[in-house]
Amino acid sequence: EPEVTQTPSHQVTQMGQEVILRCVPISNHLYFYWYRQILGQKVEFLVSFYNNEISEKSEIFDDQFSVERPDGSNFTLKIRSTKLEDSAMYFCASTTRGTGGYGYTFGSGTRLTVV
């Protein structure tokens, strides 16, 4: 069964450093998402991406965050200057259509630890 692949599985970074989280969505999917889950809390929507642009972003997704689909396969989330409160599990997801009625496929996540 097709999978969404995320790398790395775990990243530790110093506060103030830039990090790039990588995702390879399912190849025929058109809509891409980043979510995050702070330990013990709910899964929160960060951003959705369609047709090479952001279609919606949450309040969490401020100027420190950016997303990119640099080629036909990768989908990246960049945090420019990490803060302690950015420590969380980050999940990438994709779905084949935006009209609803389809499940989303999530990656296994990247655990980001900011020290």
């Binding site: 929507f45 369609y50 047709n51 279609s55 009209t99 609803g100 009625g101 999530f106």
Partner: protein, 113 residues
């Protein structure tokens, strides 16, 4: 306030018993989905119920949806120790481009063998 709030927050049952988890939401939806998460792992899609459906089955899972009450329930029958996980409901709503999933806080299910 948030979409997709589950109750109970935690549920502990014996193997073989049924587990019922409930979810309430606030705005209109296209569909409602249930996901499972094993500790520290990714989210696994379990089942999706459309807004015009009332009940859906998949193996040992049964989901109901009551749009008039804006609520859903997930029933796991004949539970197994391997069902121990967190279960999240997520509402899928239309945006201008595509859809967006909004998750609830989840129910932690522990099945004792």
């Amino acid at each position: 306030s948030q979409q997709g709030e589950e109750d109970p927050q935690a549920l502990s049952i014996q193997e073989g018993e049924n587990a019922t988890m409930n979810c309430s939401y606030k705005t209109s939806i296209n569909n409602l989905q249930w996901y499972r998460q094993n500790s520290g792992r990714g989210l696994v899609h379990l089942i999706l119920i459309r807004s015009n459906e009332r009940e859906k089955h998949s193996g040992r899972l049964r989901v109901t949806l009551d749009t008039s009450k804006k609520s859903s329930s997930l029933l796991i029958t004949a539970s197994r120790a391997a069902d121990t996980a967190s279960y999240f409901c997520a509402t899928d709503s239309k945006m201008e481009y595509g859809n967006k999933l909004v998750f609830g806080a989840g129910t932690i299910l522990r099945v004792k063998s």
